[in-house]
């Protein structure tokens, strides 16, 4: 199994990647002719462009949210030294899972393989030659940003669309938060959601830092969980098999939208959330409330980071029911450095699930592969540890001399995790899931052995 095929199998977040798979299948990523060129060192058309198409151009395209397009040699050439630095230090593509520890199987892994990084570095060091223009892979056909990505995956449009109230994004100044609340219309009875997607407008997409929609059950004041969370690079979630989120007539939606100015106004921007339901009358075996907030502060603890100093906070959460975690997302501000998730099992064993590095510019939701979603028995303790760096070593730090405290401003700090978690109603259901997992892992291990032979 070559790298491209394996990566292609694991990347599944949107049609973008399937288009790239087609390129791989056509041999553009494993081109016999590339061997000849290899002797003369990597070239743009044969070696680098396929990597950029696969891992960079989703953002680095005309109209994308990245500051420059990287789709042609002419666009890339002025940035070669920057590109080299960014990929060598793994600042780009943005993927902050610590590869030294924990689970490494994610559906949306866009990180570069070591070999790909080496190719780019050698290409830049070799003078960044263009190579034969005839060998340039055809441009990627990017998805229609105004279409529902899940429509192609699930085979039908959403059953319900929830829209935010219009908001005009100011062209300059401070970040802007928009938090309207309103009824969810169109429900005539209880339904169970199997998937949800947040769709920005084409004009508003570059200015949309994140957009979360929370469901407020009828008669309640507080949210029962997130319907959908949009961040750069992540639009949708499909809940695990036979797992759903309950919707009832009278439910409301509360938005939490973070815009940042892009130099020109976006008038009356409206975000949409599409919801796909299970068939009417079907109640899934497992309920989910979507991503749930888990603090990395203990009770009575707060964030207070000394000037020119560092800090660690830690939250501890006992799982009252057996659970399956299907995604992780950290949230910190400018001084955040990392967030580590550990499980202490009822028998006392400790396992690091993942350590996520942190960069405030990216709020990535890490989606576990189905076979890698942590299954945690009742009584497991989920430990979430956050690191902060208020020294000048932190290049994002605007003022290392300041005491930094908890707060919503970017220059204050926050620390919590959004965990995609589903609780099993019974221990028996959990045991069945464990048995299925064991069987899946056995089958995958056999497949891998066969592939290695």
């Amino acid at each position: 199994m070559n790298v491209e095929t394996e990566r292609g199998r694991t990347i599944g977040h949107g049609r973008v990647w399937r288009g790239l798979l087609a390129l791989a299948a056509l041999g553009l990523l494993v081109n016999p002719a590339a061997g000849a060129a290899q002797d003369a060192g990597p070239t743009f058309t044969e070696d680098v462009a396929p990597i950029l198409q696969q891992s960079c151009q989703q953002c680095h395209q005309e109209g994308g949210m990245a500051p420059m397009a990287l789709t042609t040699y002419e666009e890339v050439r002025p940035w070669t030294s920057v590109i080299k630095t960014k990929v060598e230090t793994r600042m780009m593509p943005p993927w902050h899972v610590d590869k030294r520890v924990g689970i490494q199987a994610f559906k949306n892994d866009i990180s570069l393989e070591e070999e790909e990084i080496r190719t780019i570095v050698e290409w830049v060091d070799g003078g960044a030659p263009q190579g034969d223009p005839a060998r340039m892979p055809p441009p990627v056909e990017w998805p229609d940003w105004t279409a529902w990505e899940l429509e192609e995956i699930l085979g039908r449009p959403p059953d319900l669309i929830i829209r935010s109230d219009p908001y005009t994004i100011n062209p300059n100044g401070l970040d802007q938060w928009w938090e309207p609340e309103g009824p969810i219309e169109g429900l005539t009875g209880t339904r169970w959601a199997m998937a949800a997607e947040t769709k920005p407008t084409e004009a508003g997409r570059p200015a949309t830092h994140h957009a979360n929609s929370f469901k407020i059950p009828l008669g309640a004041e507080n949210s029962s969980g997130a319907i959908s969370r949009f961040v750069v690079g992540k639009r949708w979630e499909i809940f695990p098999e036979d797992t759903g989120m309950r919707f009832d007539p009278g439910d409301r939606v509360r938005w939490n939208i973070h815009y940042f100015p892009i130099g020109e106004p976006v008038v009356d921007d409206v975000l949409q959330v599409g919801v796909w339901f299970y068939p009417e009358g079907h109640e899934p075996e497992q309920q989910t409330v979507g991503e749930s907030g888990f603090s990395s502060l203990r009770a009575g603890q707060t964030i207070l980071i000394p000037p020119n100093g560092t800090q660690v906070t830690q939250g501890v959460h006992v799982l009252e029911k057996p659970a399956r975690i299907y995604s992780l997302r950290a949230h910190q501000h400018l001084l955040g450095k990392s967030m580590t998730f550990e499980a202490i099992y009822p028998d006392g064993r400790v396992e690091v699930l993942n350590r996520l590095g942190w960069d405030f510019r990216w709020h990535i939701t890490y989606l576990y592969e189905d076979h890698a979603m942590p299954l945690l028995p009742r009584g497991t303790v989920l430990v979430i540890t956050s690191e902060y760096d208020n020294t000048a070593n932190n290049l994002n730090n605007p003022n290392p001399d300041r005491w930094v405290v908890y707060g919503r401003r970017t220059v204050d700090e926050m620390s919590h995790a959004q965990v995609g978690i589903t609780y099993f109603n019974t221990d028996e259901a959990f045991e069945r899931a464990v048995a299925e997992r064991e069987e899946t892992l056995r089958r995958l291990a056999v497949d891998q052995e066969d592939g290695d032979e």
């Binding site: 401070l174 938060w177 000037p307 076979h371 942590p374 908890y406 995958l444």
Partner: protein, 272 residues
């Protein structure tokens, strides 16, 4: 079994699970306790003024839930350059608990400096042998604070006024009145007029900002649902010069957003 449950030994895993192999810094607890913890001076940010001057805003975080700290102006509570010394609090109220989170006291006072002020202004507190400082400069745009009203969801700051023709203002810089005259042991009315502007309500809270001894408020927090004058009574046990801060705030979310509320200050000279 644990590894199997998490799948980290499954296909795609690259290494067996292990403890985090990083050089974590020494753990420094930041737990808010009942007694014995410090009070931390905080530089909140700066506000450019229409006349070209700059206002530097400060708050504090008393890390005690039950211990009010009194640090008089002087060698344990001072601001440098000294020409700006004197507006800082000397009474540091406890960190109240709200919605499971310990709150601090945001933007409790402000100092206005000339537009060409390029030095660092430093507020220093000394307590229990430790020194805590808040250096302040207006040189980072990230700390440019909005003032009266937010572009988005935060409420707008109401107008606070002392008397019909007295000092009036909005925002954290706030109006100041006084010195007013009061006597020890006699309840003294602290009155202030609130203009809610377009908002439905605000909570007006009085804080003991400076003074030589404890005081007693008849009503510390007042829910204001229509514009007009509101009064609370304060009683003194010792003579001296006092400063009280009123804060008009629609909801606590504004504190986290650092927008938008109004402070006002009343100076009171108390004699026997």
């Amino acid at each position: 079994m644990a590894s199997l449950l998490c799948g980290s030994t499954g296909v795609g895993a690259q290494e067996p699970p292990q403890r985090v192999p990083v050089d974590w810094p020494q753990f420094r607890p930041t737990t808010v306790l009942a007694f014995g913890e410090p009070v931390i001076p905080i530089f909140e940010g700066w506000i450019p003024n229409p006349d070209g001057t700059i206002t530097l805003s400060f708050g504090y975080f008393n890390l005690n839930t039950e211990e009010t700290l009194h640090i008089p102006l002087g060698p344990d509570n001072y601001i440098q350059p000294s020409e700006f010394d004197g507006l800082q609090p000397t009474f540091f109220e406890v960190a109240p608990l709200e919605s499971g989170r310990q709150l601090r006291h945001e933007s409790t006072f402000a100092i206005t400096v000339p537009g060409d002020f390029r030095d660092t202004l430093v507020w220093t507190l000394r307590l229990r042998g430790e020194e805590y400082s808040a250096p302040a400069r207006a040189d980072h745009d990230e700390f440019d604070m909005e003032d009266f009203e937010s572009l988005t969801f935060a409420p707008e700051a109401p107008v606070l006024s002392f008397g019909e023709d007295g000092p009036s203002g909005r925002g954290r810089r706030g109006p100041t009145t006084g010195p007013l005259s009061a006597r020890v042991g006699e309840p003294f009315p602290l009155s202030i007029a609130v203009d809610l502007l377009s908002r439905p309500s605000t909570t007006l809270t009085w804080y003991h900002h400076q003074g030589p001894a404890e005081v007693t408020f008849s009503r510390k927090a007042i829910e204001v649902e229509s514009s007009g004058e509101v009064t609370t009574m304060v009683t003194f046990s010792e003579p001296g010069d006092y400063v009280f801060r009123a804060t008009a705030l629609e909801h606590l979310g504004a504190l986290m957003q650092h927008c938008c509320w109004t402070n006002a200050y009343a100076r009171v000279r108390v004699t026997r």
